[in-house]
């Protein structure tokens, strides 16, 4: 059995939280550059230029690119022959989040109770943590700093099998239309189809962890991703909803088997501040 010390996980997670907020991934920056070449709206072009400049300032001054430094979401691929020595992996991750957010001057954006709205006593935690068991002894942690504005415009629908693929496409496009400027376009659109009620939401979230430009391995889904992206970019919403041809930077689809009576579809929107880091411990 391979052992990873608890404190090592804490420190690595703390670093990831800060890096995610200061260093926008190259995949996102490249997507801004590409979009800039194609964007026809002058306001849209200005916005894309500002997004690039903002990412540069964040990186050089080590200041968060966005004031919503996110709720942190983790997907851990944990080998069955690997364990965390000295405490639970959930505690180690949460401790890392508290340390990373507090020491990095990131924002504490978590309330303990969604109804009374009292602030959580632990800095920006608890995090949302998903663990996927794997064979072997590796441990890979994927982290996302997920903004509230785009999360709020996400949607889930238990559709009818008879709605078919056309119904699914219409639901996806309606969700993007309805989100408009609120979700801070240009967007990365994560889609989960199948599973059940909670599983499709997880699939949608998980799809957002794939880098921009990374296509589904299934040929027909890869084509659907591109088709949906092209349709979104004809909606006219554009950067920040101020009009233009860059509404989506990418579309991701994850699919799984489901019940004969079901067609669950979840759409998790991510803003242009698509912040992800991963580390193999």
């Amino acid at each position: 059995m391979r052992a990873i010390p608890y404190q090592f996980v804490v420190n690595e997670v703390a670093k990831m939280c800060q890096e995610a907020n200061f260093e926008l991934g190259n995949d996102v920056i490249d997507a801004f550059q590409d979009a800039l070449k194609n964007e026809t709206s002058p306001i849209g072009q200005n916005i894309l230029q500002d997004l690039i400049e903002n990412a540069n300032i964040a990186s050089s001054e080590r200041i968060p690119m966005c004031q919503d430094t996110g709720g942190s979401v983790f997907i851990v691929e944990l080998g069955q022959e690997c364990h965390i020595e000295g405490g639970s992996i959930y505690d180690a991750i949460n401790e890392g989040v508290i340390k990373g957010y507090e020491e990095g001057y990131l924002r504490h954006s978590i309330v303990d109770n969604p109804l009374t709205r009292t602030k959580s006593k632990t800095y920006n935690s608890p995090a949302i943590i998903h663990i996927e068991m794997r064979p072997g002894s590796e441990c890979t942690i994927h982290m996302s700093a997920k903004g509230g504005g785009s999360e709020n415009m996400s949607a889930l629908k238990m559709m009818k099998p008879s709605d078919g693929i056309e119904g699914v496409k219409a639901f996806i496009l309606d969700t993007v239309k309805n989100a408009g400027p609120n979700a801070c376009p240009p967007l990365v659109v994560g889609i989960g189809i199948g599973g059940n009620f909670e599983r499709c939401a997880y699939l949608a979230k998980k799809s957002l962890f794939r880098p921009i430009g990374h296509r589904s391995q299934h040929q027909e889904l890869a084509e659907l991703e591109l088709e949906l992206m092209a349709k979104m970019n004809l909606l006219g919403i554009g950067p920040q909803g101020m009009g233009g041809s860059t509404t989506a930077l990418d579309v991701k689809i994850e699919i799984e088997p489901c019940h004969i009576a079901a067609l669950p579809v979840a759409i998790n929107l991510n803003c242009h501040a698509s912040r992800h880091k991963e580390i193999n411990l």
């Binding site: 966005c66 006219g236 009009g243």
Partner: protein, 183 residues
């Protein structure tokens, strides 16, 4: 077109000349407030108490900045979604508020109130908090300090970049922009 430079608070005439879709650079004083501060202000209004600052002619910026790191005036400070403040906005406009800066849609009630009270709604670019922080020259807490990033701060800004979304005639750039580039 180069953005128009304006000082805030601004003269009534300058405000009514602003048109949806126009880019501006704002210099002067703005007050921050988001969900929790709006809730408290609306409770004060209900109880007939005075607001924590004189709102007449002022602009509110919907922002909850990150804590300032060492040697900084303010942390990252971009706009948050305005729609969450819709419920509280008309009563503030009735009391003389002249402008709101945020991002995203406003409801019809807010739009009507903007026209009735001759005010304006502007958007800053969501997710550019690092860039925007450079335009903020001072930050002073005014009220509700216990709310941390959600407290009301008075900001002095220089060339703060924004775009007019809803002007005092009720034109909405989110509607116009979309139709120009649709299809």
């Amino acid at each position: 077109m180069e953005p128009k430079k304006l000082t805030i608070p601004m003269e009534h005439q300058a405000l009514t000349l602003l048109r949806a879709g126009e880019r501006v650079l704002l210099s002067g004083t703005i007050y921050t407030a988001r969900d929790a501060a709006h809730k408290r202000m609306s409770e004060s209004i209900e109880k007939g108490e005075a607001l924590p600052f004189s709102i007449n002619h002022q602009f509110i910026y919907y922002v909850g900045p990150t804590p300032p790191g060492p040697g900084r005036i303010i942390g990252s400070a971009g706009p948050t979604t305005s729609g969450r403040m819709d419920k509280y906005t008309p009563s503030l406009l009735e009391r003389g508020l002249k402008g709101m800066i945020g991002k995203g849609y406003r409801n019809q009630e807010v739009k009507d109130s903007i026209v009735k009270n001759q005010a304006v709604y502007l958007a800053a670019i969501g997710g550019t908090g690092a860039l925007i922080s450079r335009t903020i020259q001072s930050m002073e807490v005014i009220a509700y300090e216990d709310l941390g990033p959600e407290a009301i701060y008075k900001l002095t800004v220089k060339d703060f970049p924004a775009t007019v979304i809803i002007d005092s005639t009720g034109e909405d750039w989110y509607e116009i922009g979309k139709t120009i580039f649709n299809g």
